[in-house]
Subunit: 369 residues, 2 copies
Amino acid sequence: MSHSQSWFQHEGIEVSLTQDPRPKSPVEDLTFGAEYSDHMLLVNWTKIDGWDTPKIVPYGNLSLSPALSALHYSTECFEGMKAFKGVDGRVRLFRPMENMKRLGRSAVAASLPEFDKEGFLECIKDLVRVDRDWVPQPTETIKHPSLYIRPTFIGTEPFLGVREPHNSLLYCITSPVGPYFKTGTFQPVSLYADPAFIRAWPGGVGESKMGGNYGPTIRIQRIAEAKGYTQVLWLFGENHELTEVGTMNIFVHWINEDGDPEIATPPLSGTILPGVTRLSLLELAATWGSHKVVERTITMDDVRKAVKENRLKEMFGAGTACVVCPVAKIAFLDEHLTIPTMESGAEVAQRCLKELTDIQVCITTVLHF
Amino acid sequence: MSHSQSWFQHEGIEVSLTQDPRPKSPVEDLTFGAEYSDHMLLVNWTKIDGWDTPKIVPYGNLSLSPALSALHYSTECFEGMKAFKGVDGRVRLFRPMENMKRLGRSAVAASLPEFDKEGFLECIKDLVRVDRDWVPQPTETIKHPSLYIRPTFIGTEPFLGVREPHNSLLYCITSPVGPYFKTGTFQPVSLYADPAFIRAWPGGVGESKMGGNYGPTIRIQRIAEAKGYTQVLWLFGENHELTEVGTMNIFVHWINEDGDPEIATPPLSGTILPGVTRLSLLELAATWGSHKVVERTITMDDVRKAVKENRLKEMFGAGTACVVCPVAKIAFLDEHLTIPTMESGAEVAQRCLKELTDIQVCITTVLHF
């Protein structure tokens, strides 16, 4: 292993291998985020001493104070990224520096310390190297399994005053995963949109991947499920602007009001997570030349009108866990809108999925062993 | 000890005493939330088996999964309450069922399970009984020290899907405390009010005591401190309505536009924490008969106008940690408003503090041993 210089001494990373490797589930049995690899990465920081030596240790429980800042004040943020095993057997990460940069921004919002993004990524690569046998191999039926990588950053000071933590722990766990949605990746979902529930707001932290943006959404997700819907469509403002769907960004493919084929997603106004999949799909689709590709405000009125005028072709969520997730219907107040994503052949959604996953297993950062 | 029946078997509480009691700091050296008592209370819950037997065990670290729901998605909430030692040497809790009820509401918002509020309170009383020597005795100079009680509820399932935790831990730690603010309880604070920063939003969870409401405020508090102010005054909406101050509710004492002396605090609209101190001060002041006591929207325009017309007498924060905290000035955009709380003799703030602390040490729930 060659290591870049870093201010938390990545070159000195300490690796302690498990003496008790666990059995791996067959790729067919993998779900999302329920099973963990044999090792984890830990890097402690204190205000007094700065960053400690990064350590790769056997996966296991952490010894944490019951007064832990993260458990009381949610001084915590995380990332979600994936390692893929290609048909060539090599392991690849997809745009991992995008995740490191976003984690850095989330850490600022969570009052956690600055960290060396390149150095931490080198440590994560070492972790994936150590657990390379946990990166699942694609099969005929499970085409895109992956090792889900969860960098996490928590305030660990045992102090009940509401202040920036003087101790923190930057860590990473990994989990071999199959498809995110129980129904499989390309089953269309139904959305429940109730403007009474707001995920994020201007002047808040909706663009950060902080734990506090997720916990409150679970109750609303359960309300949606109880009403028979798969996911929540998050709206904002008097005009009921579409913002996110579940934990994903949202895209529409429609013929716009000028009669042009367009792929659109809401702009990053501060209330929307700047997804790496979102960014990648915007960049990918722009290369096609077949559609206008835009970041624009999309209201429920826009959606309703486009459905009525048969201009709406597709709607889909986009995120690391699911990649692309087609939408079939939306319940909005007393309305039930049918979204013809599958009837339209899900042409753009399919193409996004195929091109993105091809890139993920063929042409991104290869891990050398 | 006598125990009420409860559905997590409070009557069977298991107590394991420390073999290594720690030395206690003199009451003069106590700060806020930095020192913990010898024991803690733990009650585990699983979706399959329900509530486990409550356990009082020596205070110490918890063994928690790095995939813990609370550390990733902030499925966590807490309470803050106090036990006081009166001049009669007896230990009292102040309106503890109010905290239990609020914890129950926060738990719903955090998708944590319902719990037996009376039963959990009985367990907390047992914890305070076990650590009764940690409840500090008032002295000539430190008149209102207390044992700060921190009930905490976290999702403990090691699962990375965003869903309601199938395991959780309801626990309680306690901490002997002196005054919350470094400067002492009745030193006036200066407030920094920037409408660019929004603590809570309608349709969100601002009225819940969830960790995720606190973490993001730390950065703004540091901005305020860097500009030389003590606390953040949280505004909301186009009219710059006052909502909270730091982690406290806010009160004004003024001559209202009808010429009547009035004590006012913003109404519980969903974005404001329903404080137990807030409620108690509203109830107390209503008994005086000397002031109108109202919950009403208070805008920065209202404050500015009242200052200009010499109608504003006092402004103060109110919360469990600080009790009452007078305000001396507000920086709002380019304005610097002088709030004459101290110049007015802080008459209402002083009376609130005295009457509330008198009640806390004399006439509330006594713990029997």
